[in-house]
């Protein structure tokens, strides 16, 4: 039997059509992430067996149109048209269409018809359409479009076998031709442009298909035209001339939409029947409550409180469990192996390294359980609707609310949650500012220093005290800094037109627990695979720095370690913050994770590494630590400077690794680390000197 190269089919459709559910139903867990350099959205590649032949299915991000404005949207179009480097050549299209929302879904279909590829349509959510009083006739739709149409209910698994069967013959199927027709003027300009582009094929290094030529002509602010002009600047004048030829006045994009919706009208007239006059659906009634001015806001606050509480406190017993198991393992290794480099590597390097990865899993799993539930039932869009006004003032949209709020528990799941933001610049601004939110890992640092150095002065008859106020102030610092940071990013590296906030509010539906479970598994798996290795590696590097060169005879080996030397070497740099080399060393040791600073202080101030932030021994050791000349080391200004440093710094390997993973770029990860370290240094410097000036 001749070996035929594996064929690739693209799955494409509007957002909220059940695309992921269909993809999972077709491929099971035989999927992997396709990674292209510089791409922030991920495409999933799945494999499905049809009659013993393996076929690739690439899951393209949900989109309403092929008019690409952002680089991420352009990649979707490029993949579809076989122009994306590294992506397999697409031989056929599986288009998923929401039957309950047929007209708007057909807009994308009308563009897909022009791609010169065979198409199969999965007509999903037939049940929801009926509930809305809309009947769609799949056979008539198929006949009218000249495309096989298969009714499905992906979340119930119906129609999947039929889709599979249709895909078997897809790549040899015929290409649909019966799409919308442009007026002669536009058609003439389009063909002229195509000829002009054909003569540039050598210069461009590729030929441009009709669909792309269409986008170049029509999308005045689109990426297809911009990248062409970037490559061949002289073509700009020609393009303007073609555009003028296409339309005398008015917007070409507007004209395109009018023509496509006219065609859609003809199709729906044949294939769709509105059985009842627009009545209030169950979804409308739910919405009336959930987006109500008072009731809706109250419910929103309650839901966010539950989500926040879950990652802030419910995750703790699970995290403690992981700690206990790893501590037990460490003890066993200590008793089994002789003291020395190997024992230390396994106990303080490997086990701690693995532990620092595992400890995030409860929070990630819990947050994504909630996010997947809220997203799948349709509430997430309402949350963004309710919160948009608040966040639009700093240039973001309502979609940034959940990621930023989650970051108060932990920036790692918060950054991962930013995937729900479709605008690239908003998403990056959210990711870059998320680590400024005061996460739970900062609490041990605050607890230790506040208990040791802030007097418990009570105010308002004992209702609040200075310690509580300080803790509150530390949380405020992050927010107050994040606002100008986001604003600054939006004016500089992430400059651009404000993103339109045109967002579909999908009908409410019962969430699919299978999809939720899959999403949680997918996120945890991705974190452990991609970020986990980096975090574990960083922990081991810091271990090595603290361990070597090792002299067993010395009582306080850390003082003479590479880390100790780095601390001494760096002391002048940290002197303006009021720190000595030991504090500097603890801060450097805490690079993989902030909370490590507590254990580092324990080791450095000779209390032992087995301390917690509430140990009286450690508190006393810090209170009595002195400079060589006998002055107290930790004064109030130094304690404040240290707290502010930890409030603003990005001393968290997991955050850096997650940003690298989510943005697919080390550049953004180091940018975040760099700007936060600079802010932390400046903030600590300012607080130290202000506190001294105020006589602290």
């Amino acid at each position: 039997m001749p070996v035929t190269p594996r064929q690739t089919i693209a799955l494409i459709g509007n957002p909220n059509t059940g695309k992921t559910t269909l993809f999972n139903a077709l491929t099971g867990l035989r999927q992997r992430v396709a990674n292209y350099p510089g791409v922030t959205v991920e495409q999933k590649l799945g494999e499905l067996q049809i009659d013993g032949t393996a076929v690739n299915l690439v899951d393209l991000p949900g989109t309403y149109s092929l008019a690409a404005i952002s680089p991420d949207e352009m990649i979707t179009v490029d993949t579809l048209l076989g122009q994306q480097a590294g992506a397999p050549q697409v031989k056929g299209i599986l288009a998923i269409v929401d039957a309950s929302n047929l007209p708007r879904n057909l807009y994308l279909v009308s563009q897909l018809i022009e791609c010169s590829l065979p198409i199969v349509i999965a007509l999903n959510m037939m049940d929801l359409a009926l509930a809305k009083g809309v009947a769609v006739d799949a056979a008539r739709l198929s006949e009218r479009l000249g495309i096989p149409v298969i009714p499905t209910c992906a979340h119930r698994g119906t129609g999947i076998v039929e889709v599979r069967r249709a895909l078997a013959n897809l790549c040899n199927g015929r290409v649909p031709v019966d799409g919308p027709r442009f007026p002669e003027r536009v058609e003439g300009a389009l063909q002229g442009l195509q000829r002009a582009l054909a003569s540039l094929a050598l210069q461009l290094g590729r030929s441009i298909q009709r669909v792309e030529a269409e986008r170049i002509l029509i999308d005045t602010e689109g990426l297809a035209a911009r990248r062409l002009i970037d490559k061949i600047p002289a073509f700009g004048v020609q393009l303007t001339a073609w555009r003028q030829q296409a339309t005398e006045n008015g917007s070409l994009a507007g004209l395109e939409a009018i023509i496509r919706y006219q065609w859609i009208r003809q199709v729906t007239d044949v294939a769709m029947t509105q059985m009842t006059s627009a009545r209030k659906t169950v979804s409308d009634r739910i919405d009336a409550v959930l987006t109500h001015k008072i009731l809706g806001t109250g419910i929103f606050l309650a839901i966010t409180a539950i989500v926040f509480q879950s990652i802030y406190t419910w995750a703790v017993p699970l995290q403690d469990g992981i700690d206990t198991v790893l501590g037990w393992m460490g003890k066993h290794v200590t008793s089994l192996l002789p003291a020395g480099a190997l024992q230390s590597l396994i106990v303080d390097g490997l086990i701690k390294g693995v532990g620092s990865v595992l400890v995030f899993i409860p929070q990630i799993a819990l947050l994504f359980c909630f996010i997947a539930l809220l997203e799948d039932c349709g509430y997430m869009a309402r949350a963004a609707f309710l919160m948009d006004r608040l966040l639009s003032r700093i240039g973001l949209s309502g979609k940034s609310f959940i990621p930023l709020l989650s970051s108060f528990a932990c920036a790692v799941p918060g950054i991962m949650a930013a995937r729900t933001i479709d605008n690239r610049r908003d998403r990056l601004a959210t990711i870059l500012a998320a680590p400024l939110m005061s996460c739970s890992a900062r609490l041990p640092v605050y607890t230790l220093l506040i208990a040791a150095f802030i007097p418990p002065t009570a105010y308002l008859g004992g209702w609040i005290d200075l310690r509580g106020l300080t803790l509150f102030a530390m949380h405020l610092v992050g927010i107050c800094v994040a606002i100008p940071v986001i604003w600054g990013l939006k004016c500089s590296v992430l400059r651009g037109q404000p993103a339109p906030f045109v967002m579909e509010l999908p009908s409410y539906k019962r969430p699919s627990l299978r999809l939720v479970a899959f999403r949680v598994y997918d996120r945890v798996h991705a974190f452990v695979r991609r970020a986990g290795t980096i975090i574990a590696a960083m922990t081991i590097v810091i271990w090595a720095l603290a361990y070597f060169p090792h002299e067993a005879t010395q009582a306080h080996a850390i003082d003479s370690s590479a880390l100790g030397r780095i601390g001494r070497f760096a002391e002048p740099a940290f002197a303006p913050l009021g720190w000595d080399w030991r504090i500097a060393m603890a801060a450097i040791a805490a690079f993989p994770a902030r909370e490590v600073v507590v254990a580092a202080f324990g080791t450095i101030f000779h209390v032992g590494a087995e301390v917690s932030e509430t140990s009286p021994g450690l508190r006393a050791a810090l209170q009595t630590a002195t400079w060589p000349d006998g002055r107290a080391l930790f004064t109030l200004p130094v304690a404040l400077s240290l707290m502010v440093f930890f409030a603003l710094c990005c001393q968290c390997g997991a955050t850096v690794a997650t940003i690298r993973r989510e943005t697919n770029s080390w550049g953004w990860a180091w940018f975040t680390f760099g700007y936060m370290t600079a802010l932390a240094y400046a903030g600590a410097f300012a607080v130290y000197h202000i506190a001294i000036a105020l006589g602290g």
Binding site: Y64, S65, A67, I69, S100, N101, L102, P103, R104, Y107, K132, V134, D219, T220, E221, G222, S251, A253, G254, E256, A257, I258, Y261, A278, D287, T291, K293, I294, G296, T297, A381, A384, F385, L386, D388, R389, L390, S392, Q497, P500, F501, V502, M503, E504, L505, P506, S507
Partner: protein
């Protein structure tokens, strides 16, 4: 259906049904609005405004869409009686 004086979508009260006349502008935002079905002749209903007064929720072609006032200001509509 008698057409009343035209206005822009951001000035329409909740519960009112309107017909789209034109979209202003030629940029990406206008294009996105058109793609979502906001083409001349389409009917839409303003469902509600968010608690803080922005954005607004509309219903058209049998689905619900949220957009900000500044985007709604690009949409010229006439009120249906």
């Amino acid at each position: 259906m008698a057409l009343l004086p035209t206005t822009t979508l951001d000035a329409v009260a909740p519960g009112e049904q309107v017909t789209i006349l034109t979209l202003r502008g030629e940029g990406a935002v206008t294009q996105r609005l058109a793609e979502m079905g906001m083409v001349p002749g389409a009917h839409l209903t303003v469902v509600r405004y968010a608690p803080m007064g922005d954005p607004l929720e509309i219903s058209l072609h049998g689905y619900h869409l949220s957009l900000r006032r500044r985007e709604a200001a690009l949409v010229e509509v006439s009120r249906c009686r």
